[in-house]
């Protein structure tokens, strides 16, 4: 019905509509495609550019300002559209000016995160991007801006989808979002974060009230879709004395790029367990920035499993602001094919008596590449800091690459900090020992690889997640495209 009506309207355009359509059609304005008399919900809008969510309405003068029109505009804006209106007269007498306005609006709606733009992406010239050439990874991508496909499940009581406009953010979330970008002054490489700020329309908010101790986890599933580039933001507040668990799953098919910014505040005495399973398509690029701010006696436990992705960057920045806070940043990376996995961590000890632990295990095979950059920065005030960092890597092929860069920067004099990094191959003697007991080589190799990653999986305090991780590791090990027993031992 509505469609028929729209068709009719298209046939019987007013002069003004004809005039502007002649200027909009065929992607004449910077390649932006417009539709005319287009159905959205129960409305028919005059012109719409769907890639930019911009609606252009031409008013004859007789039907503006009435209640119905306001409702209509409200509905469309709630749907995420920007609505601009022109009078018939403007179009007839000052088309130039109208088109200029439309061009400006379109520009404003064009995401800054354009793959074509120069200086938009961090490059290997930047200190923290030395080992990950993001522009190269994205080079052949042909992507369109899209909405992130996010599904919340499990304990969703305190979680809700992102408001489309900043105005509807709760004050606390607005404050978090508007905070200075972590690491920006020092490294000047936070363009992905800033890009996420510009787009700010996808994601979720999690707000756990004080002393609420929740054992059931909130689960978030991100699904990547072919040819889509999405940006999402997660704003999380765990109030004083509260306890919460979040499990994120990332999966998808085809070529996509997800850029995710997560901000977490763990208040005094609060505890937050944060688990991530990244099993993205091996054509996909995923960039993540996670910023955690911890108050006194706050407890943050993170475990990230990365088992896919053409390129993934997990950048984590922790600010330990209150005394006796404890953070544990652990992870397992299992990379095959030509996958590239990058973990870049900065822990800022800015208060005395805090403990931070980083413990990562990485398994690389085929021509995969892994990057681990971990930094512990102990500020002058942060006496009695206990900082620990261990990154161990296992090379299963001669063509795989491991880049490890541990870093300690210590300004306090009474601290305990240690770090270690090892890169090795499977222990041939152990392999032979297992085989001599009748265990076939492939199975023996898997036992040893499992043992290697288990050192970190054992530290997951959430039993179900621990079990799940073991299962995912096993799936990875018994995957079908596993290369036949490779000769690459010590």
């Amino acid at each position: 019905m509505l469609k028929d009506k729209a068709r009719n309207l298209r046939k019987n355009q007013t002069d003004a509509e004809k005039r502007i359509w002649n200027a909009l059609r065929n992607r004449q304005i910077d390649g932006n495609r417009f539709h005319r008399q287009f159905v959205i919900g129960q409305y028919i809008v005059d012109f719409v550019c769907r890639e930019k969510d911009l609606i252009v309405e031409i008013d004859g003068g007789q039907h503006s300002d009435n209640k119905k029109d306001i409702e209509r505009t409200q509905y469309l804006e709630k749907e995420g559209y920007r609505v601009i209106r022109f009078w018939n007269n403007d179009v007839m007498n000052n088309l130039e000016g109208v088109l200029q306005d439309i061009t400006k609006e379109l520009e404003a709606l064009t995401p800054t995160l354009s793959l074509k733009g120069e200086g938009v992406l961090p490059t290997p010239k930047m200190e923290r991007w030395k080992y990950t050439n993001l522009p190269a990874k994205l080079k052949k991508f042909d992507l369109q801006e899209g909405e992130a496909d996010i599904v919340l499940s499990g304990m969703t009581d305190y979680a809700y989808a992102f408001p489309k406009v900043m105005d509807s953010f709760p004050t606390w979330a607005k404050e978090i979002v508007n905070k200075p970008v972590p690491g920006e002054q020092r490294y000047k490489d936070m363009m992905l974060w800033q890009a996420a700020n510009d787009v700010l329309k996808n994601g979720f908010i999690l707000d756990v009230p004080a002393n609420e101790k929740i054992s059931k986890a909130l689960e978030i599933t991100y699904t990547g879709h072919d040819k889509k580039q999405t940006t999402a933001r997660q704003v999380i507040r765990i109030a004083e004395g509260a306890e919460m668990t979040l499990i994120e799953y990332q999966l998808g098919a085809g070529q996509y790029w997800n850029n995710i910014v997560t901000q977490v505040e763990v208040a005094k005495g609060a505890s937050f367990k944060h688990y991530r399973f990244q099993e993205n398509s091996d054509e996909a690029v995923v960039t993540q920035n996670t910023h955690i701010v911890m108050a006194e006696r706050a407890d943050y436990e993170a475990f990230t499993f990365t088992g896919g992705g053409k390129a993934s960057r997990n950048q984590v920045h922790v600010d330990m602001m209150g005394e006796h806070a404890v953070c544990r940043l652990n992870g397992v990376n299992m990379l095959d094919g030509s996958e590239h996995g990058d973990t870049t961590i900065t822990v800022e000890h800015q208060a005395p008596n805090c403990n931070s632990f980083q413990n990562y295990r990485t398994v690389v095979t085929d021509t995969a590449t892994s990057v681990f950059q971990g930094k512990i920065h102990v500020h002058k005030i942060a006496q009695k800091t206990d900082g620990y960092q261990m990154a161990k890597s296992l090379l299963l092929s001669g063509q795989a690459t491991v880049n490890t860069k541990p870093e300690l920067e210590i300004y306090a004099d009474d601290v305990k900090c240690s770090h270690g990094a090892t890169t090795g191959r499977l222990d041939e003697e152990a392999l032979f020992y297992l085989q001599s007991r009748g265990i076939p080589e492939a199975q023996a190799r898997n036992l040893l690889i499992e043992a290697f990653v288990n050192e970190v999986i054992e530290e997951i305090s959430h039993d179900d997640v621990q079990e799940q991780t073991a299962h995912i590791v096993n799936q990875w090990l018994t995957r079908e495209d596993e290369p036949a027993n490779e000769e690459w031992l010590d």
Binding site: E428, E429, A430, L434, S436, G438, I439, P440, L447, E455
Partner: protein
């Protein structure tokens, strides 16, 4: 029945075994003695198929089956077992997981039913008791933090569970005190059976007081240079190996 004929083997191009002949009938226990570096461990590794040990000549058959073409795990399935002179630590792999995986891999390959967790636990408990191995040891990673004696008892435990046709014990007695030695020997003796043969490699005659061999061989410079009864071991204990080293060189 294990038959080794004219076995030549090298490591990195250096010939270590230089024409070794040995055959052990079903139910028999043979001992090999010899000076350090004579090739005893090399023989045990060649038999079990370790990488880097290249057989250049000769043959080894177990009940008529050529084992040299088999991978180490296939040899285990065929019934070969090596108790290592230096048992290997496998960090992160728990004893129970290890035993279960090994036992079921072997059973599966032999077309036998796999054991469930309970069946395995029962079997393990019985064998552990016989060998004086604590439950606590079973919760640890394979050989990690085990004392020398515990490692050796652990080898015998694995042997008891896998029930091989032919077992090679490479200096299982070294580093054991008299009590541990007795436990290990009892473990081995309990497994002695009509259809099972043993090759006991040792440096000292002492072990042979507990595990009575049918034959004693002297290995020197990659070859069996003398064969006799248990009395040969006593003789070697007295005289040492000097005469053999000279002779073979």
């Amino acid at each position: 029945m294990i038959e080794i004929k004219n076995l030549h083997a090298e490591i990195d191009g250096n010939e270590i075994l230089k024409g070794l002949d040995l055959s052990i009938g079903n139910g028999e226990v043979h001992a090999i003695m010899g000076p350090n570096g004579s090739g005893k461990s090399t023989l045990s590794y060649v038999l079990s198929g370790r990488d880097g040990y290249e057989v250049t000549k000769g043959s080894v058959t177990l009940d008529g089956e050529d084992i040299l073409e088999m991978s180490p795990d296939e040899r285990a399935v065929a019934g070969l077992f090596l108790a290592f002179q230096y048992p290997v630590e496998v960090p992160g792999v728990q004893m129970t997981t290890f035993l279960k995986t090994a036992l079921n891999a072997v059973r599966k390959a032999r077309d036998e039913d796999e054991l469930d967790a309970i069946g395995l636990l029962k079997l393990m408990k019985t064998k552990c008791k016989e060998l004086n191995i604590s439950d606590e040891m079973m919760k640890r990673a394979v050989n990690v933090g085990f004392s020398g004696g515990e490692k050796k008892r652990n080898e015998v435990l694995q042997m008891a569970m896998l029930e091989p046709k032919f077992a090679v014990l490479d200096e299982t007695d070294s580093g054991l005190d008299i009590d541990a030695l007795r436990i290990v020997a009892d473990g081995v003796n309990a497994l002695r059976a009509k259809e099972r043969s043993f090759l006991v490699i040792t440096h000292y005659q002492r072990l042979l007081d507990y595990i009575k061999p049918d034959k004693v061989h002297v290995l020197a410079e990659g070859r069996i240079v003398k064969t006799g009864g248990p009395e040969l071991a006593l003789e070697l204990e007295k005289k040492g190996y000097a005469e053999f080293v000279g002779e073979a060189a």
